[in-house]
Symmetry: C2
Subunit: 381 residues, 2 copies
């Protein structure tokens, strides 16, 4: 009975006659949602029964003023009795709009939802969706391909996330004359996009650490996925690494210097934890850990706590993003704030105006800001 599920001892069972459900269990009645049913009623049927034209039926739902009150009432009543509603897909086809925004994702939905960055981004994008009274379609890659996912989506436009390598997506979107906006991508000049000053932000935080005297550094970077290794990657991660390199160069350091360790791990708290643990038990302990995302930094802080290493007394830690948690964690995290919600909102706004055919500047650049809190301090002597 206890089929194991991945959250441990929770289990699935057929509902017992218990007090936890709203009512007792039922005998094996046919499930109404799958019951073989007669065909869905159409406008034609309603028209026949009500003794009017299909036009009239359509007007009753879409342009009531054009019908006499009696006719309208009769149609609506017949529709009610028959259980008729206009078919949304037919409506989309004939109206040429879907009232839904598409979010073209670089990863599967589970991976996206594990990442708090996307939650923030979706809050912003969701504000626009809400304001416009639309819906949001999450379109993950199909057979690992973002390109493949484009043709199947019934949307009025796309926000495209994390397109660091264009495999034809931009051309496809254009060919379909589909409005779109690129985010966290390597956007060509003539394509609408919203980006962030990743390079600047990263340089800022690294300089901050350098000024505090840190010279033995560890960088916690994340893999962007299978194809997004350091080589060929040209999105936000590449820009952050470039800012890092730039700042290091100013004091004669580089990613290849023996005092700079560069670790690539998946972007999760647990991975930040493990990597830090390893780093701190090695011969060459850094005095500062530079994480390329807050989630990694917070994992690092956990590990240092566990090891009884004082922050920032012995080791400083910095993040990137300024997730809400960065301000809750102890010590509070020094990090680079990027406007995640604003990014979603601006992308949504740009997409809406593109859909409306309004002209606008194709690029928006959002600024980062260095937030110095408690997790960074002078290098130990």
């Amino acid at each position: 009975m206890n089929r194991d599920l991945d959250e441990g001892d929770a289990s699935v069972a057929v509902r017992p006659t218990g007090s936890d459900a709203s009512s007792g269990s039922s005998p094996a009645r046919p499930d109404p949602s799958t019951r073989p049913s007669r065909p869905r009623p159409t406008a034609r049927l309603v028209a026949e029964v009500a003794g009017v034209s299909r036009t009239a039926v359509s007007f009753a739902f879409n342009d009531p003023a054009r019908l006499s009150p009696e006719t309208r009432a009769r149609i609506l009543q017949v529709a009610e009795e028959l259980g008729y509603r206009p078919h949304p897909v037919a409506r989309m086809l004939v109206r040429g709009q879907t009232r839904t925004l598409g979010l073209l994702l670089p990863q599967d939905i589970p991976q996206v939802m594990e990442n708090p960055y996307y939650s923030q981004f979706l809050v912003g994008l969701g504000q626009v969706v809400h304001r416009e009274g639309m819906s949001l379609l999450l379109a993950p890659p199909i057979r690992s391909s973002m390109l493949q996912a484009i043709p199947y989506a019934a949307v009025d436009g796309f926000v495209v996330c994390g397109l660091e390598i264009d495999r034809g997506e931009v051309a496809e979107l254009r060919r379909r004359r589909m409005p779109f906006v690129l985010v966290d991508s390597d956007a060509p000049d003539d394509v609408p996009s919203v980006e962030v000053t990743d390079r600047q932000g990263m340089a800022d935080v690294v300089r901050h650490l350098l000024q505090l005297g840190h010279r033995r550094l560890a960088v916690l970077s994340f893999e962007g996925g299978p194809d997004r290794a350091r080589h060929g990657y040209r999105g936000p991660l590449a820009r952050r690494i470039s800012g890092l390199t730039e700042a290091l160069g100013e004091v004669g350091l580089s990613l290849d210097h023996p005092d700079v360790q560069f670790v690539e791990i998946p972007c999760t708290r647990a991975d930040g934890f493990r990597a830090t643990r390893q780093l701190m038990t090695s011969d060459h302990r850094p005095t500062a850990i530079i994480a390329l995302s807050d989630i990694l930094a917070i994992g690092a802080i956990d590990a240092l706590h566990d090891l009884g290493i004082s922050i920032p007394g012995e080791v400083s830690v910095t993040g990137f993003d300024d997730q809400p948690e960065a301000a809750w964690v102890r010590p509070r995290l020094t990090t680079v704030r990027q406007p995640m919600q604003a990014k979603g909102r601006v992308a949504g706004d740009m997409l809406i105006s593109a859909i409306r055919g309004e002209s606008h500047h194709p690029h928006q650049l959002l600024h980062t800001a260095l937030i110095v809190r408690e997790s960074s301090g002078p290098a130990p002597t």
Copy 2:
């Protein structure tokens, strides 16, 4: 230039000629995504140009084997040149399926995305979406009404979340013969649903505290939204409160007892923090704080830290959910685990089989489990 955005000092600006973007800024070229364009090419046009029937064009895309290789190649090439792709909406209409699952939400997308519970749920549901190669439509209420959102969604079925008061949604879904599954709702007997033993879970954790000798208690409950006050609410929250009441009754306590404080707040970390601060600076300090969600409990822990109150020495804290964070927080949180991901996955599986017309038991009940960690201990004497 620094238009203020809600994440503080981040700001929007037109892209400067900087090094942060992938290339320099461009002159005011027409935006390709909004450029007035000639009509989208159709299958008819491709057929004409290629000198074949529309049938053949369709076969080239959907059933290549039925065409001679040459014909097919010619059609595909013409399509390529013209930039033709089958229109997804037309395809949906004629095929009678959308290849997308709908998630009918009780709140706007921003509110949903702020809640880590939904992230977990979406990980599970996303696994099914991924496995099936489908997309996921997030359908928030339209004009505050879940009912209104139903007719506009082009989906093959709905997972309905948090339908604690049925305002006609179930009837509407049935009338449309739309497959659906209820989650976190007050599901009637003959409607497919997946629920959790909220009542039992809550009773378990309260008994745990009672056995530790706690008799002065504070309950941190959350508002489910405008219409989901304690009265009339019949979903998971009501069941948790019922489990709470049951356990309290066993030692002669109740929600009305002067030693039991009941606080209703929004379900955020900051609200848990504030409420706890208030509770602990009042005359009647509890020895245990029972939060109805982890996020609230974690906020409470933050507040106790700030006040220098020892956990569980002076005050015990418990949560509900077992979010990943519950195991990271210090002290580790005693809580009730509910299988959030499994809930999403089971709901998705049930929906898929409903869509396929397979019969199945209409109810699935998932089990909770009490997870005792460090945040609960004997009541101070």
